[in-house]
């Protein structure tokens, strides 16, 4: 029974394919999986928008949307109808073709990433040997669409937003890659399926997730920062920083194209959260050996939603950085930490089992973190202040 539930989608697909001649089966199988992905994630996106608005509402002591449907859960449908029926405005001087293509390129590139993500046991569209590489290649092409949008709009704010976006995404692309290299080093494979398999082991009932090692924790932290920047989320939402650039690169988009940008952004968040879960949180594996009876895909989506909640929480709390600070942070803090982490991961590998490698690896990372933090603060004279009073 547990087995069946775990594999229910796989079995369902096989059962459906059995009605078809054998020659058609591989092609139709792929189409079926793609349709599922294209169906599931926009639905999840709709749910997440409500979750985000209600969550931020609660953080701000408001109720959030509560008028459409019970507790406002039908809000995304209303939003969808609104954006579909809205007039699609293209600026007179815009480069119409590029302006039209940009949101499509974004959505396509974002969805491509899901091809290699294992969403459950045996639930992966393509088990590529270089899965991680494919993912980053696809992830990097979203930058093109952002720049297309910003450039073709012929709007100064769009242009500024696109410039910011490209600079930011390229910088953090490096950090993203370097922070995930440690996982590749330890698991010895670029295939995401193998990476999950390597983490799906348990000792004393606890899983061998990479986040539970010093280098894995540091790597996950760096990956989280880079992922937030990569998806333009708060506190790194400068390309669309409302108070500065109106809406950044999609200032001139309206109606359904705007909705596509919105969708692309959220789906990119899902996909990067899924990658993070795969790399550091054991993908679809259960957090405790005793909990393995719960289907694997539920764990994957559970971890995804937890990551989303963290994104929402950060968005409701953190102000945004400035462009130069953001770049400084990427090149002067995240990148060195990632490189150090590579070294620490190597050290970990060659030190063998024992408490000593825990102590040494953690000490190196903590010292570097504290040192860099303090150094930065002293250099820029930042810090809490005391104030004087006049009677």
């Amino acid at each position: 029974m547990i087995q069946t539930l775990d594999q229910i989608f796989v079995l369902l697909k096989h059962w459906l394919l059995n009605f078809l001649p054998a020659a058609w089966q591989p092609a139709v199988g792929v189409v079926l999986s793609v349709v599922c992905i294209i169906g599931v994630f926009p639905a999840l996106f709709a749910f997440t928008t409500v979750l985000e608005r209600k969550g931020i509402g609660r953080i701000q002591n408001r109720l959030g949307p509560n008028r459409v449907g019970p507790f406002g859960i039908l809000q995304p449908i209303a939003d969808g109808i609104k954006s579909l029926t809205k007039e699609d405005i293209v600026p007179l001087k815009a480069d119409a073709a590029v302006h039209f293509l940009a949101p499509i390129v974004l959505v396509v590139a974002v969805f491509m990433g899901f091809a290699v993500l294992p969403m459950g046991r045996n639930m992966v569209l393509v088990d590529m040997d270089a899965g991680l590489l494919f993912y980053f290649a696809m992830g990097a092409s979203t930058e093109v669409s952002v720049f297309m949008a910003g450039w073709s709009s012929r709007n100064k704010y769009s242009l500024l937003g696109a410039m910011r976006a490209v600079a930011q995404m390229i910088s953090y692309e490096v950090a993203l890659l370097l922070s995930s290299v440690v996982v590749v080093m330890m698991s010895g494979s670029l295939s995401l399926v193998k990476i999950v398999a390597a983490q799906n082991q348990y000792s004393w009932g606890l899983p061998h997730w990479y986040i539970f090692t010093p280098w894995g924790f540091a790597g996950a932290l760096m990956f989280g920062i880079a992922a937030t920047a990569e998806t333009n989320r708060s506190p790194f939402d400068l390309p669309e920083g409302e108070s500065e650039l109106v809406a950044g690169y999609f200032t001139e988009y309206s109606g359904f194209k705007f909705a596509l940008f919105f969708l692309g952004e959220y789906v990119a968040m899902f996909s990067i959260a899924g990658l993070g879960a795969t790399l550091f949180l054991g993908g679809w594996s259960a957090p405790l050996a005793a909990l393995q009876f719960i289907p694997s895909w539920m764990w994957f989506f559970g971890k995804l939603m937890v990551a989303m909640c963290v994104f929402i929480w950060m968005r409701g709390t953190l102000p945004r950085l400035r462009q130069d600070q953001l770049m400084n942070f990427a090149w002067k803090f995240v990148l060195p930490m990632c490189l150090l982490n590579l070294f620490v991961a190597g050290l970990w590998r060659f030190m063998g089992d024992g408490l000593l490698r825990w102590v040494i690896c953690s000490a190196i990372l903590i010292l570097a973190y504290v040192g860099m933090g303090w150094g930065e603060m002293k250099r820029k004279h930042l810090g809490p202040r005391t104030y004087r009073y006049a009677e």
Partner: protein
């Protein structure tokens, strides 16, 4: 610069998130059309004209009991000049029985009115007061936002209902004024009676009749 400030901030928002489910004090939002806060006694929206009436439900009573005497002070003092008054040609008795001019036309353009309450303050006759009714949206921009005499007239009972404390004070003041006026009238009547005793003249019955009217 180690991120502890950020963590503190995150803790604070988490506290607010959890607190919003627990404490009602944090959630100050009112779900407006379903939930309503009782209007505050001091609240002011647009002015109305008070009339005294024995039968507030009687639709014809408003004209007779209107306190306004068309003195046009409010029209003059109104900062955005949204009041428009035409005096009547004839006179009718007011609440103390004195013959007074009444407003033949009294319009307030509430699209111009800014709810400042200055008309209420300058009115020496306690005739104009502030309403608390605020749901006045209409699709007729020019006609429906110009309130005429009839639309502006509200009974003293209504005034008591929306501003109980203030209305009680006003009533007390008016009663005192009236008593004073009555005493005067009475004195005048007495004098007239005394005069009538010496020489036959018209009996002073008319002011007494005016007294009865409330």
């Amino acid at each position: 610069m180690l991120g502890e400030g950020i963590l503190k901030g995150l803790a604070e928002t988490a506290k607010n998130f959890a607190g919003s489910f627990v404490s009602a004090e944090r959630m100050i939002t009112v779900q407006y059309p379903e939930e309503r806060i009782a209007p505050m006694e001091a609240a002011r929206v647009f002015p109305f004209l008070v009339y005294d009436s024995k039968h507030p439900e009687d639709s014809l009573d408003w004209e007779a009991g209107m306190r306004c005497v068309a003195c046009q002070i409010c029209e003059k003092e109104c900062p955005p000049k949204c009041i428009y008054i035409e005096k009547s040609k004839d006179k009718k008795p007011d609440f103390v029985g004195k013959m007074q001019i009444y407003p033949a036309r009294f319009d307030i353009d509430i699209s111009v009115c800014m709810s400042c309450q200055i008309c209420v303050e300058v009115c020496p006759f306690e005739a104009i007061k502030m309403d608390t009714q605020f749901e006045l949206a209409t699709d007729d921009r020019f006609g429906a936002l110009l309130l005429d005499r009839k639309e502006l007239a509200k009974s003293n009972e209504y005034y008591h209902h929306i501003h109980p404390t203030e209305a009680a004070e006003v009533d007390a003041r008016l009663a005192a004024e009236k008593a004073k006026a009555n005493a005067k009238v009475k004195a005048a009547a007495d004098a007239a009676v005394a005069k009538a005793a010496t020489q036959p003249a018209v009996p002073a019955a008319k002011p007494a009749e005016g007294n009865k009217q409330e």
